[in-house]
Symmetry: C2
């Protein structure tokens, strides 16, 4: 990403086109922002605790984003994620002004996605939608910013983001399996790509919390896992896989904070929870987590941290990295301390 920024700054370009998945679009987004703010230090725009979260003096240069995976939703968000090897964690830039000018969302660009890319980017959509829908509501988020300009991109769930997130879940229920089991199913792949954009608008206005927050240490501390459908040159846990690995344990932990929202999400995913029944937390939890586990086992994804090569002795390092990357203004709907994170990683050793 730093090389891309240098290239963009030196090239005196007036606009950019990003063709690719989330890494490509996020890198181009950052390059277009730093190119128009040539004095800025790399850490200036990165969120705490690693960066300074400054507001840029100048808007980014125009960027046209063309997604080639159905997962990231980066074409819609003001977010750019990068790895920070020195902190063993991923972090990012989150700015309202960090957004492509235009996106070209063409389903023909995802028809040739390899199987596992379709699977893992689909899980990214699933977690985007679930996390943004269950995020702390925007009017309960603290501290409140002093001015509208300082309002965070991850502002918490709200009636607009809710609509996009729930619609993404409804699409997943109908098309996720179809899009994986029959790669030639253009209708299914079209709707999954739309769901990716929909959930992108959801997170772009509400935010993500535990699944994503706990995924960054998993990705960064991977030592040897490689996936046959991804480049083999270096060890890589695909983003969507690291995100969904803790999802079941995350939502089991979060459900007591807002059981109704989790029940709505489960219903949008197809869970048969009767309307007008006051369901217990355990009942909702089983239904929502069954939906997630159902996708994971149907697609035979690596079954938990254990299958990704982590051993119990790795868990404290994961926990440390996660807790140190947490921001004060988390939008997780339940207070998440070190013990809670440790339990979630432990439960995520094996999932289904």
């Amino acid at each position: 990403m730093k090389r891309a920024i240098d290239f963009a700054r030196n090239g005196q370009f007036d606009s950019f086109i990003a063709v690719g998945g989330g890494s490509v679009m996020d890198t181009a987004n950052a390059a277009a922002l730093y190119a128009s703010n040539p004095q800025a230090d790399f850490l200036d725009f990165i969120v705490p605790p690693f960066g300074l979260a400054k507001i840029p003096d100048r808007p980014m240069l125009p960027l046209i984003a063309i997604p080639t995976t159905a997962g990231t939703g980066s074409e819609t968000t003001g977010v750019s994620i990068m790895d920070m090897p020195e902190h063993k964690c991923k972090t990012g830039i989150r700015l309202r002004c960090l957004k492509p000018l235009l996106a070209i969302v063409d389903p023909l660009n995802v028809m040739s996605l390899p199987r596992n890319v379709a699977v893992y980017s689909g899980f990214d959509v699933l977690c985007h939608a679930l996390e943004s829908y269950t995020a702390l509501p925007y009017n309960e988020r603290v501290p409140r910013p002093a001015t509208p300009q300082e309002r965070p991109v991850y502002q918490g769930s709200n009636p607009i983001s809710d609509m996009w997130s729930l619609e993404a879940l409804r699409v997943m229920q109908k098309y996720f399996r179809r899009s994986v089991f029959d790669p030639s199913d253009e209708e299914a792949r079209t709707h999954m790509l739309m769901a990716s954009s929909f959930a992108g608008v959801g997170i772009g206005n509400a935010g993500v919390h535990l699944c994503h927050g706990l995924s960054y240490p998993i990705s960064s501390q991977n030592k040897k896992y490689t996936d046959p459908d991804y480049p083999q040159q270096k060890a890589l846990i695909p983003h969507g896989l690291s995100v969904v690995t803790t999802a079941v344990a995350d939502f089991e932990f979060l459900i007591p904070a807002c059981p109704d929202r989790h029940a709505n999400a489960a219903k949008a995913l197809g869970a048969d929870i009767p309307v007008r029944v006051s369901a217990s937390n355990e009942y909702i939890s089983r239904h929502l987590c069954d939906q997630i586990r159902g996708f994971m086992s149907d697609f035979k994804v690596p079954n938990g941290l254990g299958a990704l090569g982590f051993t119990p002795s790795d868990l404290p390092n994961l926990t440390d990295a996660a807790v140190s990357s947490f921001e004060k203004a988390s939008i997780a709907p339940r207070k998440t301390d070190r013990d809670a994170v440790a339990v979630i990683y432990e439960k995520s050793m094996k999932i289904y």
Copy 2:
């Protein structure tokens, strides 16, 4: 509107704020557009058949829109509607660049709406949502524009506008009656104002067709109707009332063109149509139109064209004006000729 344009052109303002209902926001929108295009003739940007639908050389000046009615959705659309007395009809400007820069959608601004303003602006929301959801799909609309720049604002129904339109209908089911019967119900008025913006995004991306198309002659050819909750200085049929007056007859006519969509709309409004039952057109029609008639009779709105002061001898004039204002590229889902329009007006003499 012409006076506002002159005022805006002469004042050399750099930006505008519109505080009011649809007329106010539409007038300010037009003023901000013509002020930045000082050479343009008034008819240049107006749609056919009355205007030339030219694409402006320069973007409009910045406008902040603050709606004070829960109906128009003008704060979200690229549409500005005006009366053309010389043609006895309303018409408008529709341009992708004709959009407020920002809207402040604050429910406290609609808490003091008079009863009938709440009722009729609510019917405007209802028809925006129903018309945009049932509009010809974007990929069946002809003729196709030669360039993306010429893509019409009313581009037909599509997966994005569908989401907003259906959500507006779900909100109406829950809150329309509450917002009218208890004006102090802040929750209901909040949701109705949001539904107004939601349905605005629906029409702003899909468009309206018969209810709105047939309402313009009704408004323009009114001779004596006044409403106690609107200004009394001159005869006025409130926009939402003229729009909903033909709604039942419109949808009875349109249902055979896309019965599934009409069934979905009826379900979003709360009609008890069983899932997975292949319903007849008559069954869907009765359920959808019962929802519309239910609102109309519960709110005791004037019962049809007769109650608005029209007699059977006025109907040919209404029909002529409607047909002459129709554009070639209508997005009504069913071909609507002069005979069809005449029958709709005739059926709309009395509704419930």
